[in-house]
């Protein structure tokens, strides 16, 4: 295991960052709260809450339909957020950004709209064994209806994607939907190479970037992706908002998904004419304050710099891999790539025969928050031969103290269950 000793760059002042997150100063049973569940959902800085409260107390109205100044300010705030998100991921146009309720809806949107229009019985969709249920079940639902084949890219012993037979899997495939980073193993995939391979094979790509966009620089054009999805709540934004980005030509050609107000040009008793993008895909009142909150989250991350965020997490992951192994000893298994630079800050842990649920319960007594379970990736868990892991996931506000607390609590758990 390699990795630098430095756990933060000079521009990355974690003590200062932590002050921006009120929930982290919470004391639980006399102990400092150690939040290691950002992979499930991050916390958010005061600036994000303030942005939403400010909208609600100064400029709130429904968007897109009002002429009065308050409504115009609300619409501008909502559309500014769209522009911020577009810039954050290097999207060529803000109109290619579609706000959904979460990443799951975004994938379902593509499956329903692009999928029904483009997939037929006999076609193939390629997934990886590392996918989150959000990037499996929508395709299974559609496959059950249409009758196409789902093919799976495997992983190797170190938890890296096994691309040795990728060309065979992609042969004749119409869609390749894959994760940019596993939420269980932390494995990063080579999105650019995978997109290139898909393109060569004539397959459209959808990248589940839920775990990567919050943690490292993203450039959708450089990746060569067709669609990418991610969630606001994992990147310092509020709950209730997700993002779909797609290439304009693809979005333009797709039929609408949900029907209702705001997505039409015209409605008569006989039928309707859909609006252009992004309106076509945003039926009903959108997550207005949530978009504004997400915009403020993007501002906060830009302020830190995504390069610096990534650097911080690589260092802290290296520290964690080393410290946990040293402190807890060989009863501890850490899944995923051993090389910190090949992974994100997601550590799936197993402590001998103690179930993740029980570990997590003991850790909570030490105010250490980790998540036990299958992490919505049951096919991967089955492949790993494990029922549940205890997952610690890192973000910008975590420091070496958090890792030390985790290590110490794991030792206590080990001792409590006398192993």
């Amino acid at each position: 295991m390699k990795g630098s000793i430095m756990t933060s760059s000079p521009t990355f002042d974690i003590a200062k960052i932590r002050k921006d997150f009120p929930i982290l100063s919470q004391i639980q049973d006399g102990k400092r709260l150690v939040y290691l569940d950002s992979g499930a959902s991050s916390q958010r800085p005061t600036s994000v809450l303030d942005a939403m409260d400010h909208l609600y107390t100064h400029s709130y109205a429904n968007v897109h339909r009002g002429v009065y100044q308050v409504a115009e300010r609300a619409t501008n705030a909502y559309e500014d957020a769209r522009s911020k998100v577009a810039k954050f991921i290097g999207a060529p146009s803000a109109n290619e950004i579609i706000f959904t309720k979460n990443a799951t809806e975004a994938i379902n949107l593509v499956a329903h709209s692009w999928g029904r229009a483009n997939l037929q019985s006999g076609d193939a969709v390629v997934l990886t064994i590392m996918e989150h249920h959000a990037n499996i079940v929508p395709w299974q639902m559609l496959a059950a209806e249409i009758g196409f084949e789902i093919r799976w890219v495997a992983i190797d012993e170190d938890g890296m994607l096994d691309t040795s037979n990728l060309d065979v899997l992609l042969d004749g495939a119409k869609m390749f939907a894959f994760t940019a980073m596993s939420n269980v193993l932390g494995t990063l995939t080579d999105t650019k190479a995978l997109c290139a391979a898909a393109q060569k094979a004539g397959a459209v790509t959808l990248i589940d970037a839920c775990q990567s966009v919050p943690h490292m620089p993203t450039d959708v054009v450089d990746m060569g992706a067709d669609f990418i999805v991610f969630s606001g709540h994992k990147m310092l934004g509020p709950s209730g908002i997700g993002v779909l980005w797609g290439r304009a030509e693809l979005l333009d050609a797709m039929p609408p998904f949900l029907g209702g107000g705001g997505m039409i040009l015209n409605v008569t008793k006989d039928g309707f004419t859909p609006d252009g993008v992004p309106g076509k895909f945003e039926a009903g009142t959108p997550p207005i304050a949530e978009a504004v909150g997400l915009g403020a989250a993007v501002d906060y991350l830009n302020e830190l710099g995504m390069e610096a965020v990534r650097e911080h997490e690589v260092s802290l992951t290296a520290y964690a891999l080393r410290t946990l192994t040293e402190t807890v000893g060989e009863t501890l298994t850490i899944y995923g790539p051993s090389e910190p630079a090949a992974r994100g800050g997601v550590l799936s842990l197993e402590l001998a025969d103690v179930h993740a649920h029980d570990i997590s319960q003991v850790l909570d007594e030490h105010a250490v928050c980790v998540r036990p379970g299958h992490h919505c990736a049951k096919p991967l868990m089955r492949h790993l031969g494990v029922n549940a892991t205890a997952r610690a996931s890192l973000y910008i506000y975590n420091d070496t103290d958090d890792i030390d607390a985790l290590a110490e609590a794991l030792v206590q758990a080990r001792d409590f269950f006398s192993i």
Binding site: R65, N76, E79, S93, A94, T273
Partner: protein, 155 residues
């Protein structure tokens, strides 16, 4: 009410109350519909393009607010009898005027295209609209629809 008076110039109200080139054209004229999905404004444009590429006739139907209706009326007067190339120049000039402050709902990457030297005449009266961003869509509805009509007529 200075803001309002800047928006609702006399000439705008005049075109709203007495729209030029209102009506329909029989086939084989090109008929194109436009909708402003936000407010429900609808416009129907009929154009005849003759064999010399001249926009020999234009008629306007539909319903809308004073800004969208007067813009359509002034547009029809400005392009009638012009060649398609000339009409397109006027369209470009008008859209450039409308994007001085940018269509706020647009694109972070796109820049306002350089304003060509087009004399917009009466249409200059609509310049005040850019101060009311929500209304820009009202002013440009007929122009977008005309672009589409020309595309169809010359396809």
């Amino acid at each position: 009410m200075s803001g309002l008076e800047e928006l609702y110039k006399e000439i705008i109200i005049d075109h709203y109350r007495s729209p030029r080139n209102k009506g329909e054209l029989p086939p084989p004229a090109t008929r194109t519909e436009g909708f402003n999905p936000l407010c429900g404004d609808e416009i129907v444009i009929y154009i005849d393009v003759d064999s010399n590429g001249v926009l020999s006739d234009i008629k306007i139907g539909g319903q809308g607010c004073s800004i969208s209706q007067s813009s359509a009326s002034m547009m029809s007067a400005a392009v009638k009898g012009k060649t398609v190339a000339e009409a397109q120049e006027i369209i470009g000039g008008f859209k450039a005027m409308m994007s001085v402050h940018g269509d706020a709902l647009g694109d972070p990457a796109s820049e306002a295209t350089a304003e060509p030297e087009v004399d917009l005449g009466d249409l200059e009266a609509l310049k005040g609209v850019v101060k009311f961003p929500v209304r820009i869509k009202c002013a440009t509805l007929s122009w977008n629809t005309l672009t589409q009509a020309i595309d169809e007529a010359t396809a």
